[in-house]
Amino acid sequence: MNAEARPVVRLAGNSVGALAAMKGVFVRDMKVAFRQRQDLLNPLLFFVMVVTLFPLGVSPEVSFLREAGAGILWVAALLSVLLSLDHLFRHDFDDGTLEQLVLQPQPLFLLILAKTLVHWMLTGLPLVILTPVLGVMMHLDGNSIGILCLTLLIGTPVLSLIGAIGAALTLGLRSAGVLLSLLIIPLYIPVLIFGTGTVAAAAEGATVGAYLALLGAFLVLALTLAPFAAAAALKISLSNG
């Protein structure tokens, strides 16, 4: 075969920038979420119900609620984030869009970051917004409620980011939900400790700047490391399926 007869093909040009790709993922996930709005309420309802159990199950005494309130709200928020994590990649995995996500000519960790951002905006952020109402019901004072909201605002993205690793690791497994909780809860403990500890410190009149800075450090650490771990885990899980 001579050189002229050989078929020739043009390679594709440059792909779009990573930011545009992240925006694409963000817009798509947001659209999908808002097409089934009723599902967005589930973690919120769960959050409110878990909080309701404590006055009913332990004691409606003002003194108890005031002391335990911040901790109860934090634990309830943690559990409802945990509950919603199972869906982070599952639907995408089932309908094949996850494969196409991984095959985008883009750094996978950035795309995962975009997905996690959507997850946080649709679960963590509404919890933070709902917290003042529940805080009042738990007889927390105004200052404590403010600090509590601030800790949740910094803390819930960390929960989503760490959770993404667990969701990616357990993708496609039997009883993934329970397994996900087993893997992730130990990793949530530091966030919980500092989240509630900050509120406790504020209640004792201490300045909380340093504690908030530490929570911020957790967030930075999670932002830089978790997407890489989740990307690695996602590739492993897809390779298995």
Partner: protein, 247 residues
Amino acid sequence: MWQFFHKLGSPKWFFGISTRFMPWLLAGGVILLMAGVVWGLAFAPEDYLQGNSYRIIFIHVPTAFMAQSVYIMMASAALVTLVWRMKLADVFVKAVAPVGLVLTFLALFTGAVWGKPTWGTWWIWDARLTSMLILMFLYGGVIALDRAINDEKSAARAVAVLVLVGVVNIPIIKYSVEWWNTLHQPATFKLTEKPSMPAEMWVPLLLSVLGLYLIFGWLACVRMQTEILSREQRTRWVREFVMKGRV
């Protein structure tokens, strides 16, 4: 160097060399551990503060120490699995995770029993006990994930990611639990060895730590060999080993 590294990754080579080492590990480990334990139980002087209950230290400290160092070893192996895809590394992680779990449980159990005569209660939310408990959760997670994934290569790599994520978290967990502890219980009596421990106390302690280390090495070898045999069933060398009894 690279050849050595490659050899180190060969299951067959490991099988041969470990078979030679194992009796020594076991014998040395049992002798050292027994020496440390007998010395500690019968000959070490009584602690002036805690009385004889402190003698639990001769197994509590070795198990607690091993529980933590096994996790660190697993994390190093996990790194090797992900970076160089060395077969032996993931065999190691899989083989020793249950050992780590048992050691962590023993550290917790002995800590709790020691707490009864010392603090008057079986369990207190002391920083060390609590972070040991969380370490046990981490071991549990690793084992559960490994069991849940059918494909052994995927399992090995997923577990490696989890172990590494865990090891990044261990210092954070330790630090935050300690901080939490000071916040809630400012002055508890801690399970720390006093700084000026007489030689009659720390020498037996050192012996039992070393002994347990060697026994762990032996256990790791036995369990890794089991795993290697089940993975390499179809190779000629395993067939020869099974049928003729030599590598």
